[in-house]
């Protein structure tokens, strides 16, 4: 696979093989994260394929439930950890409902990797602020763990992760580790007071302003529900982050995942191949059709 150095770098190729044919994958573990989010760890059944499988943080995959359909999810395990591929799925439609019924040992289809990735090379030597809301933590997780696995390449790393309530916090089994690490400053917040909650209470953009990260030599990476993104971007602007310093990942209804079927375009950009990762500067140059 070609080295990816920017959000707009050409995506990897998959040659002349049938791009619509999924690889079979076995579910090895299902983790119930929240009432609406489950995490699936899968391994490709073809051992050689699994061994040779490479991807970049931020890239996505299409998960198939045969007879139901396919949907797009970010690979939220980092490329540095290769024993399985991890996807976190929020139940919303038909396919995600079917995915939620999966158990360890079941077989699904996977088409991956698809799309571009975070330009982590450009972020080397810089401070990083991750701002994740709800299921939006998934794409950040892959880059966060990747950076932690290559810790010396980056400056100060901060994570602000918010959810509506403590029950809505995904990756809860990992939170103690993230909170305890000396090389990561982890802040958790929920929207409203809850019994026993030891961390922040308040909306993500407000907590971010309180954290007051210095934009100097810093990159902000955010993902979450549209409304949260909107106000987080406003907060980052207030904190004097330039559009080139802000990255986000987009979601659209997708089918082919390879830039052909035509539905995930924003003007001339296709979220499935030109994204899902975009800098704020790139988004500003695109039509406003999110």
């Amino acid at each position: 696979m070609s080295e990816q150095t920017g959000a707009t770098a050409p995506r990897p190729t998959n040659g002349a093989r049938n791009p619509y044919l999924p690889a079979l994958a076995r579910v090895i573990e299902v983790i119930t994260e929240t009432p609406t989010i489950k995490t699936f760890r899968v391994v490709l059944e073809d051992e050689q394929l699994m061994r040779e499988f490479t991807f970049q943080p931020g890239q996505v995959g299409q998960l198939s439930m045969f007879g139901i359909g396919e949907s797009t999810f970010v690979i939220n395990s980092p490329p540095t950890r290769r024993e399985y591929l991890q996807f976190s799925v929020m139940r919303a439609g038909e396919n995600t409902t079917a995915l939620h019924a999966l158990q360890a040992g079941d077989t699904i289809g996977v088409r991956a990797p698809l799309g571009n990735s975070f330009p982590y090379d450009n972020m080397k030597g810089k401070d990083i602020v991750f701002i994740g809301g709800g299921i939006g933590m998934a794409p950040l997780r892959t880059l966060l763990l990747f950076m932690l696995d290559n810790r010396k390449d980056y400056g100060k790393i901060r994570l602000l992760y918010g959810a509506r309530s403590p029950q809505d916090m995904a990756f809860s089994s990992e939170l103690p580790d993230w909170l305890g690490r000396s090389d990561l400053e982890c802040t958790l917040t929920i929207d409203r007071e809850a019994e026993g909650w030891q961390h922040k209470v308040g909306l993500i953009p407000n907590v971010l302003l309180e954290m007051n990260p210095d934009p100097k030599n810093c990159v902000a990476i955010t993902c979450g529900p549209p409304i949260m993104i909107k106000f987080t971007l406003q907060a980052l602007e207030k904190l004097k982050f330039a559009p080139e310093q802000i990255y986000t990942t987009l979601e659209k209804r997708m089918k082919c995942g390879i830039g052909i079927c035509g539905r995930c375009n924003i003007g001339g950009k296709y979220v499935c191949i030109d994204g899902p990762v975009f800098s704020m500067a790139e988004l500003r140059a695109m039509p406003n059709e999110l």
């Binding site: 050409p10 995506r11 990897p12 190729t13 998959n14 040659g15 002349a16 093989r17 049938n18 791009p19 619509y20 044919l21 999924p22 079979l24 059944e45 198939s64 045969f66 007879g67 139901i68 359909g69 396919e70 949907s71 919303a92 439609g93 038909e94 396919n95 995600t96 077989t107 289809g109 549209p226 979601e251 659209k252 209804r253 089918k255 082919c256 390879i258 830039g259 052909i260 079927c261 035509g262 539905r263 995930c264 375009n265 924003i266 003007g267 001339g268 296709y270 191949i273 030109d274 039509p287 406003n288 059709e289 999110l290």
Partner: protein, 349 residues
């Protein structure tokens, strides 16, 4: 039509027999009149193609079927089995319009990966494309809705064609434009000098008869600048029904859906035509829809053809000017008017 290419001749009387022989080695699709429509049908022995009225639909479905099986799945065994659909056989489209042939040129860079910034190749499209021979029949006149010459085409354009057939009094003069075209016409006699001359004159006559082309070079920037002009798009789309007639008759509209059809433990994954005029096209599972109104969707359709696509494909419009979207629109939406209005509107802003 060039005077230098090899030209063959076939009389109208000999045509059905000749096509029947071709059909022994592959499917021959040709225009046939059915009810009030003219559609491309697999030709049965003895059938004559309809060469008088222009086909209602384009011939894109020969290469890009309305619905095709990507693979079938069988979940009965412990390990699911996926089976790819079989290779298609060879096909000939006899009597495609020159705009139809040019339509595939808009598909190609998207489906072969050359124009999508990567190299994901659509194997299903490409294998049909490479096995389909296009015999274009030159038009003898323009319809009110035709505008091929606005977008780089013409009534007898050779672009994308393997053979260009020109009607003369006694029969068709076949201009051979590719190796496959030569093989197709191998058994036919060469056109006489008089026949070839008559064909050249016919082509010149129709080309000369065309009304002048509108200037569209300002369209891509104009449409991009009007993206947020809600009022403009509301007015342009007011009478649109947002059905899919325009997109499904269009030789260049290439969008599709992928869905599964299952009867429990076995089924198929289908790729079927889809269109950006449908509200479901972009409706997300959360209920959010980036294009909730027909104005948003018509804007995308026109924008894609005359602004986004050209920005990705060296300035080429994703429109071949066949005018079917205008001719068959139940509510008389005219894409020419929208593009020209946009150019005018953008100049005024």
């Amino acid at each position: 039509m060039s005077a230098d290419t090899v030209k063959k001749f076939i009389s109208f009387d000999a045509l059905p027999g000749f096509l029947a022989r071709v059909a022994e080695t592959g499917t021959v699709y040709a225009p046939r009149r059915e009810g009030g429509a003219v559609v491309y049908r697999p030709l049965k022995p003895g059938d004559a193609p309809e060469l008088g009225a222009r086909p209602t639909e384009s011939c894109k479905h020969v290469v890009f079927p309305r619905s095709e099986t990507l693979f079938s799945f069988d979940l009965k065994a412990e390990r699911p089995a996926l089976t790819e659909s079989p290779e298609p056989g060879p096909a000939v489209v006899f009597g495609a319009l020159s705009c139809d042939a040019r339509g595939f040129l808009a598909f190609d860079p998207v489906y072969n990966g050359s124009g999508t910034g990567g190299s994901a190749r659509d194997t299903y499209y490409l294998r049909r494309r490479s096995r389909t021979l296009l015999v274009v029949k030159a038009c003898k006149s323009a319809l009110n809705t035709c505008f091929c010459n606005w977008v780089g085409g013409g009534p007898a354009s050779p672009q994308g064609a393997d053979v260009l057939a020109v009607e003369t009094e006694q029969g068709l003069v076949l201009d051979i434009l590719s190796e496959q075209g030569a093989a197709f016409a191998e058994s036919l006699p060469a056109a006489s000098e008089a026949q070839a001359g008559a064909a050249l004159a016919a082509v010149k006559a129709v080309e000369d008869s065309l009304p002048g082309a509108a200037e569209l070079s300002a369209a891509p920037a104009a449409l991009a600048s009007l993206f947020s002009s809600a009022e403009f798009w509301k007015n342009e789309s007011a009478h649109c029904l947002y059905c899919g007639a325009c997109t499904y008759l269009c030789p260049t509209c290439y969008c599709f859906n992928i869905t599964d059809e299952s009867d429990g433990l076995s089924g198929v994954r289908l790729r079927s035509w889809d269109n950006c005029m449908s509200p479901l096209f972009t409706l997300e599972a959360s209920g959010h829809n980036p294009r909730p109104n027909k104005a948003d969707r018509l804007k995308n359709r026109v924008g894609h053809k005359f602004s986004y696509y050209p920005s990705l494909h060296a300035g080429r419009f994703s429109c071949c000017g066949c005018g079917r979207c205008i001719k068959s629109c139940p509510s008389s939406v005219d894409i020419r008017k929208i593009v020209l209005d946009a150019v005018k509107e953008a100049a005024n802003v």
